[in-house]
Amino acid sequence: MSEHAGPLAHHFEDIEQQKDAAALGMWAFLATEVLFFGGALTAYSIYRGLYTKGFAVGSSFQIVPLGAINTAVLLTSSLTMALAVHAAAVGNRAALVRNLALTLLLGAAFLGIKVYEYHHDYVEGLVPGAWFHPTEEVRDRIRPFEQQHGTVDFRQVELYFIFYFVLTGLHALHMIIGMGVLTIQLVLVRRGWFGPEYPTPIELTGLYWHFVDIVWIFLFPLLYLLRHAGGGH
């Protein structure tokens, strides 16, 4: 992401201008990412509005404690990322390396928990499309819900899981890209790059990582916590 030869690129007046340009560029890129996830979230919110019952049941199939732990893991990785950016700014290389590694580790833990959840959904036959045949045990679990809210149309539940896999899949993909960049930077830091005079690449990765964390901050309640169909239909 940055030139190894002297930090100041030839076309910038001074280092200050280059840092501002890089920060503004990353923020602008994150704006496009907000709208990229926004398109899928708009579709999700419309369908949740149309099929409230099916989506509430879909959310109830999620393992909420696991989701909460995952959120905590990602928030911790956000903390370590912020500490890494701080370490880069003050030039404390040991702390920088430690925090980058910690962030990577926590990211991997997050993906691990996601893989477990995907497998759990597969076992319960909740993966939409050809693999969607919910087991008896799953149908029994929502008997009390059906007592109170009437029968659940499993095609709506399937639509919920389509969006669950699309949204968390996109989020995981962004995590993987982020972890790739982190790995490259970890290697470069050990070779002595990103001193206090030019910590910008670490800051940019930090901005990106915090953005991915914010996406999860919204995805977690939307996908896991809205389990009530309320008084409405």
């Binding site: 030839h10 496009t32 996830f37 398109g39 899928a40 579709a43 939409p128 095609r155 709506q156 996109l170």
Partner: protein, 549 residues
Amino acid sequence: MSTGAPDPQYPSAPQPDAQQEVDYLNASFGWKSWLLTTDHKRIAILYLIVITLMFFVGGAFAVIIRLELATPQADLMEPDTYNKMFTMHGIVMVFFFLIPGIPSILGNFLIPIMIGAKDLAFPKLNLLSWYIYVFGAIFTIWGMLAGGVDTGWTFYTPYSTRSSHSNVIPVAVGALILGFSSILTALNFIVTVHRMRAPGLTWFRLPLFIWSSYATSLVVMLGTPVIAITLVLVAVERVFDWPIFSPPEGDPILFQHLFWFYSHPAVYIMILPAMGVISELVTAFSRKTIFGYHFVAFSSMAIAVFGFLVWGHHMFVAGQSVYAALIFSALSYIVAIPSAIKVFNWTATLYKGSVSWQTPMLYALGFLALFSIGGLTGLVLAAIPIDVHVTDTYFVVAHFHYIMVGGTIMGYLGGIHYWWPKMTGRMYPEGWAKAAALIVFVGFNLTFFPQFIAGYTGMPRRYAAYDERFQVLNVMSSAGASILGFGYLLPFGYLIWSLKYGRHAGPNPWGVTGLEWQTSSPPPPHNFDETPTVTEEPYVYAVEEPEYV
């Protein structure tokens, strides 16, 4: 003459001896210096080559469509092939020429020079977006060669997800990749305009081409990701057979909402850069400052913002609710006002000017006439009951061709001719260029004006076979299309001819203001020997006090 330390980017550049000046073209040679360049001027030339190629690919599809429509029966080809022709004409022209066209070529070349910078904010990112464009082009052309796609450039579901057996996914992914290329270019422009302006160049001293390119970049940044996610969802639906947009669970109208949320602002992405070029041409060739600078600048921003509120007027008959249709119709009327303000301000700029009739000005005057017709028929379409009658007919086809061909392509050709001496150091042949401009103007009107009449009479769009009673209008249109096609070949010919035999153009062949005309033609690798300082408004020609009418 560029003295000073050897430029790190062109280490192998020959040291400048007395008479032979170093510019970005002869700074270094060999395909490596071109394919790995980070000089925004060279990247602009790379874009010019690739985009011109795609323009002629799209044009070929258009010629085939017009040949088929010369006869009422679908006799030239299978209906399926015809469906693929108009689909690919739409996709190639929209995603590969109109959207990247002016920003990637003229924007890339001129924005750094016009604001006195040495290069764009992220030169490597600029080269990356060119490679992404080429990769997207290869992907889509592979999709086309492997049998093409027949869903229309709008990819409406459930046809594109359930019924179409053509390769929707490769072409959709190709368009998706194109989206990233234009996002990265737009990101580059925004950061450059914000962070790298020359000393003294405040926002209200910027040339209007910068204002409209900035507004376009905003629209690209905020719109393109939504078409990216929509195409991802369509591709995911086809791959995993998940009914995201297909009945009974999915809602095809939700696809149309997400698609048109981007695709209407996309038409502003196409026209805004052309408006920026016209602002430059009108002031340069009437040797007078623009009339109402602030109004023209802010109308670009107003178009960019309001453009996102009006997409529902594409869906008046699609089953949208009555009240949503009324909201979108009202907002569509309001979005027409900034465009009208711009046209009136350009016309007022001509008043008491010293108007020269050189080719770029011919294209600008043509733009004023044709864009007015295109824009004002937009008012016809914003009226819901009329739109209920004419949507999906040739009236709509004529409307958007008047804006895209009458507006964007006239602006594009005007801009290419105007900045050709700056880009290549050579002048184009004036006689041939004027002839080509007239042929294009005549051919265009003969092609698309009859379609307004056929449209209101009820000839539906995307029909391989039509009623006999529309044949006369269609034959006129096909005749016009051949004239237009020939008209576009002429500039292609004489501009390449001018590279070798064209007259050498000095730094300022038109005698106009603007930072790009204060450096040599073609400009040195670093645009300016030392960063210029701007002390006054743009377009200041006369010496005495400006007068307020």
